[in-house]
């Protein structure tokens, strides 16, 4: 009965992606490619101050400039209640959201929007921005998470009351969370070796190549259309509806092709502004962020400051872990402290774990999701200290991980008991991989690290329409970031029994398909994929009914095989099988159009585990690190389209390597961002990386018909520690703070030399 033993014709094959031709020829329409007749252009005035009271804004001169059609400030937005509502990725506080899209009482970071203008041209709009005068009272600011938690730190929100803890007076701590399993006191008593360390990571941007872009058009009757580059058109609809007080039925959002998101396009920045400007101006409004605006004003993921304590027996059994993880949230609450804590040591079977976390506001742009939000940060600490433990115990670092590996039946520190998981398999494969035993030269080192991510399901809708010529259209509602259209088409082709190139997958707007939760949490191929499979099964059921009608037999007497309706047995009768094309052609006579549909809130996401091996060479005189070889092993459940699974693994590893080596926000003493561009915000370039070897392990998720697990997030979890562990192996120097950029590494190497000389 297990679906795993089935032989698949399409699932698991490497087909050309449906969006491939348009993307390589430049025909694909991304956010900024969309235009309407009569369209005008919007630009945003942004705060130059990291923290300032907005005493007044005078827009009169801007409004008087010829060509200016509308000017908005926070006064044009209604106040929102300070309650949490479920929407987007997690719980949404609309009081914060309206203040993030347009500063109200205070500007809370350099780049915070304070006004917006729509005008006949971009140039006029920019000239109008210069005519807006804002009276600021500049306040002291705070950028660093540890500083923000100190007594006497500048307070961002006087009224903020932290959840999960009690404090006297105002604080920048928005939230405290804790997770406890077993008894760590007892666990440490059982330990023969105990290590305690601190680690720090920088906030990093998702670095998507396509800047945020939108066209909004509000008609005289109040009906609004929004075309934008987003990870979730339904979330854009919900957010704009709430912020502007419009019914969801009056907003239709169409997602463009998307040039990367990685979690950063699950929120709104420009969409409510463009919609409001359009409403005021009576014309369609287009807005595109510059790269500088993307860096100054859109969400990075948190930076973190952590302490870890780990205890183990001499034989290598980890007996206890304690950790504190403090994450900066940017200007509004919402750092992924919970997931960071939950993922920290999730790959391991440890009986006594206590982890707590803080969500801390600072004068930086509000964080947004970024691949496995929180997990890479806590994993940098956990996987670094496990490496130190392995060294201390004299046990091979993979052997130590295997000794403590979580398996089916292990209770995770954050609560659940794992079902079918493939963590141990990733470690076994790493140990046997020829990379792990390849010789290393001088100044070279090897590091390993593992990672975990939950993956999610969520609300998903899909329609499979059978066309009159025997082809099919699959409509789903998730922007395709990683090749999901190809995977959905493959699963539909498999179910329908027709060729992949006869299935056309498209992404519907918010008015053309039922609700879909956003593209995030590695959910689309799994959850929307499940809805597509069920919708295809629904179409197949109808096709069987039509055959039954033609044959004048009971529908139960018809089965579907290889794209044909067949009698279930000779008892039913002796009929020639009817092909899908044949049944489609006869549809008008047998009951009309054949449309399969499914909508559900998908449960049963299978967690993802990965183990990475990284070789580096360190230039001891300059601190430069070259990544020589990189192997990423991951349990992918089942790779529906292996190339795109490998692409996800390689991309995640590449981003993690950037996070490890060079990426950081550089703020000047006034709290202004000094590197808002790709020149000085250094994501890796192609020549920085070797070909990343993606090794897929397939331990199917027992709650998906094809065994799918999300694959897009866990590959960014291990790299930072893998690189740090490799650098330690090469140099003997442990880097406990990111990024491990040449100046920082050289300073650490010199420090170690001085220490050695002194001893």
């Amino acid at each position: 009965m297990s679906s795993d033993n089935r032989k698949y014709k399409w699932v698991g094959t490497r087909q050309i992606r449906p969006d491939g031709h348009d993307k390589v020829t430049g025909r694909a329409k991304f956010g900024s490619d969309f235009s309407l007749s009569g369209m005008i252009h919007g630009r945003v005035l942004r705060s130059p101050h990291a923290h300032a009271i907005i005493k007044s804004i005078d827009t009169s001169k801007a409004e008087a400039l010829p060509g200016v059609k509308a000017v908005i400030t926070s006064k044009d937005f209604q106040e929102q209640p300070a309650e949490l509502k479920a929407a987007g990725e997690g719980m949404i506080n609309y009081r914060d959201m309206t203040r993030n899209v347009m500063a109200r009482e205070k500007a809370l970071y350099d780049g915070h929007a304070v006004a917006a203008v729509a005008a006949s041209t971009v140039e006029v709009a920019e000239a109008a921005l210069e005519l807006i005068s804002v009276d600021y009272e500049v306040l002291p600011h705070v950028i660093d998470v540890d500083e923000a938690m100190k007594e006497g730190a500048p307070i961002l929100h006087e009224e903020m009351v932290p959840s999960g803890m009690e404090v006297n007076g105002p604080t920048n701590i928005a939230k405290f969370v804790e997770f406890n399993l077993g008894d760590t006191k007892k666990g440490f008593e059982e330990a023969e070796v105990v290590i305690e360390r601190s680690y720090k990571t920088e906030a990093v941007h998702q670095g998507y190549i396509e800047p945020h872009a939108v066209v909004a058009s509000v008609a005289e009757d109040g009906q609004a259309q929004i075309w934008c580059c987003t990870q979730g058109q339904f979330q854009v609809r919900a957010f704009v509806a709430q912020l502007l007080g419009m019914p969801a039925s009056s907003i239709r959002v169409t997602p463009s092709e998307i040039g990367g998101g990685f979690g950063g396009k699950t929120v709104v920045y420009l969409e409510p502004l463009a919609t409001l400007l359009s409403k005021k101006a009576g014309k369609p409004v287009k807005m595109i962020m510059t790269r500088e605006e993307v860096f100054r004003a859109s969400g990075p993921t948190s930076g973190g400051s952590m302490t870890y304590k780990i205890g183990a027996t001499k034989a290598g059994k980890i007996t206890a872990v304690e950790a504190t993880i403090k994450l900066l949230a940017g200007a509004f609450a919402g750092a992924p402290a919970g997931p960071a804590c939950m993922c920290a040591v999730a790959p391991y079977d440890i009986k006594n774990v206590y982890v707590n976390g803080y969500d801390v506001v600072v004068n930086r742009p509000k964080v947004a999701a970024y691949r496995a939000p929180g997990a890479p940060i806590s994993a940098f600490g956990a996987e670094s200290i496990i490496d130190e433990l392995a060294k201390e115990l004299g046990i091979d670092p993979l052997e130590l991980r295997k000794l403590n590996a979580a398996k089916k039946g292990t209770q995770a520190a954050y609560g659940p008991t794992f079902r079918e998981i493939g963590y141990e398999e990733t470690v076994d494969i790493a140990m046997k991989h020829d990379h792990y035993s390849a010789p290393l030269g001088p100044n070279q080192g090897r590091g390993v690290a593992s990672g975990f991510w939950f993956n999610i399901g969520g609300e998903s809708s899909a329609t499979v329409n059978i066309n009159e010529d025997g082809t099919a259209v699959v409509i789903s509602g998730n922007p395709d970031i990683g090749g999901s259209r190809a995977s959905l088409a493959l699963m539909a082709a498999e179910e329908l029994g027709i060729d992949y190139d006869k299935v056309r997958p498209i992404i519907g707007d918010t008015a053309s398909i039922g609700y879909n939760f956003l593209t995030g949490g590695s959910r689309v191929t799994f959850a929307t994929g499940l809805a597509v499979v069920e919708a295809a099964k629904d179409a197949v059921r109808q096709l069987c009914e039509r055959a039954a009608k033609i044959w004048e037999v009971d529908a139960e007497g018809v089965i579907w095989e290889n794209g044909h309706a067949k009698p279930a047995s000779t008892n039913v009768g002796d009929f020639e099988p009817l092909s899908l094309a044949n049944l489609a052609a006869q549809a008008p006579k047998t009951g009309g159009p054949i449309c399969g549909h499914n909508a559900q809130n998908v449960q049963g996401a299978g967690p993802g585990f990965a183990t990475h091996i990284c070789d580096v060479e360190v230039d001891p005189e300059t601190g430069s690190v070259s990544i020589l070889r990189y192997t990423a092993i991951q349990d992918v459940g089942r790779a529906i389209h292996p190339s795109y699974v490998e692409g996800q693994i390689q991309g995640g590893a590449a981003q993690g390597i950037g996070w490890a080596l060079n990426e950081e926000y550089i703020y000047n003493s006034k709290g202004q961002l000094d590197n808002p561009g790709f020149l000085d915000y250094r994501i890796p370039v192609a020549s920085d990386l070797p070909m990343i070897d993606a090794v897929m392990v397939e331990v199917p998720n027992d709650r998906h018909p094809y065994g799918v697990r999300g694959v897009g997030e866990v590959p960014i979890v291990p790299p930072m520690a893998a690189v740090a562990n490799a650098i330690e192996n090469a140099t003997g120097v442990r880097m406990s703070a990111l990024p491990m950029s040449p100046p920082r590494l050289l300073a650490a190497l010199d420090q170690a030399d001085i220490k050695e000389a002194a001893e």
Binding site: E123, V124, E621, N662, R682, S687, L746
Partner: protein
């Protein structure tokens, strides 16, 4: 929002007139790989843009009878690279020029632009200085020649007077037993700005003793540096460890860098010494092979 006048003179004199006429707000356009970026970022706001690429002299690339080269100020990196002779004679100069940007940028980026953009981190500049290159300048008062190291005055500033521009460069004939090299440090492997750059040219005698040397550093001061003490440290030596340490120390002592987003003072200083040692070794190896 003001409109920009675009001019494409065909003679040096016409260009000089245009530059002189434009109330101090004219900008020369060579490859445009700095200029257009600055224009789009609203960093500059010129009233006239004078494209010098239609002036033959700025596009010249000649090996002269004495073995020296004349390189037009607007010649693109790819054009020079494609000619084997300059690369064979002055690999360091070509390597430095070649490091500027990607393939696309190489189709445009000129030495005149790299020098006159006057970024302390311009990659070709230390290599040009080490090789002893000079700039041929035209202006309202006629022609003059300046050593490359005397062209820049500070970040974004040159010593060119109003109406002046660089027409071409002279690259000396390669001395026998001579070799040159350029190295830079960037945090990435491509698409980055030098944290430190070092150009070296030297000559050896038959015994392998350094007979002359010029060592130049970029990105460690407001303008490119010529480090005479560094040259002294190796002239007369066979690049023994002591000479190399003295070279390293001389380079470190010469650095006057700033702390910025690209590197700290300590880092730039230390790496200047490291790159100098490495560049000298490469240049010496090249010199020895002749």
């Amino acid at each position: 929002m003001e409109s920009i006048e675009f001019q494409k003179p065909e003679t040096v004199d016409e260009a000089v007139k245009l530059l002189q006429g434009a109330d101090g707000n004219a900008k020369i356009l060579a490859g445009g790989t700095d200029l257009l970026v600055q224009l789009r970022a609203h960093m500059i706001d010129p009233s006239v843009i004078v494209d010098i690429k239609s002036i033959d002299e700025t596009r010249e690339l000649n090996k002269n009878a004495d073995g020296s080269y004349t390189i037009g100020a607007a010649v693109a990196g790819a054009e020079a690279h494609e000619r084997g002779d300059i690369t064979a004679d002055w690999p360091g100069v070509i390597e430095a020029w070649d490091l500027i940007g990607s393939t696309q940028i190489q189709g445009r980026a000129s030495l005149g632009g790299n020098l006159c953009n006057a970024s302390p981190a311009g990659d070709s500049v230390p290599a040009m200085v080490a090789a002893g290159m000079t700039a041929n300048i035209a202006g309202p008062d006629g022609r003059r020649t300046l050593p490359v190291e005397e062209v820049t005055a500070g970040p974004g500033k040159t010593n060119l007077k109003k109406g002046e521009f660089i027409v071409s460069f002279n690259l000396p004939a390669k001395p026998s037993n001579g070799g040159d090299a350029y190295l830079r440090l960037i945090p990435r492997t491509e698409m980055d700005i030098a944290v430190v750059g070092c150009g070296v040219a030297l000559t050896l005698d038959d015994s392998g003793t350094v007979t002359s040397a010029k060592v130049s550093l970029g990105a460690v001061a407001a303008t490119v540096l010529v480090v005479e003490d560094a040259a002294k440290a190796i002239i007369g030596s066979k690049l023994e460890p002591e000479a190399m340490s003295a070279l390293d120390a001389a380079c470190q002592a010469a650095c006057k860098p700033i702390d910025d987003k690209r590197g700290t003072v300590e880092y730039r200083t230390k790496v200047a010494g490291v790159l100098a040692r490495r560049a000298v070794s490469i240049a010496a190896e090249r010199a020895g092979k002749n």
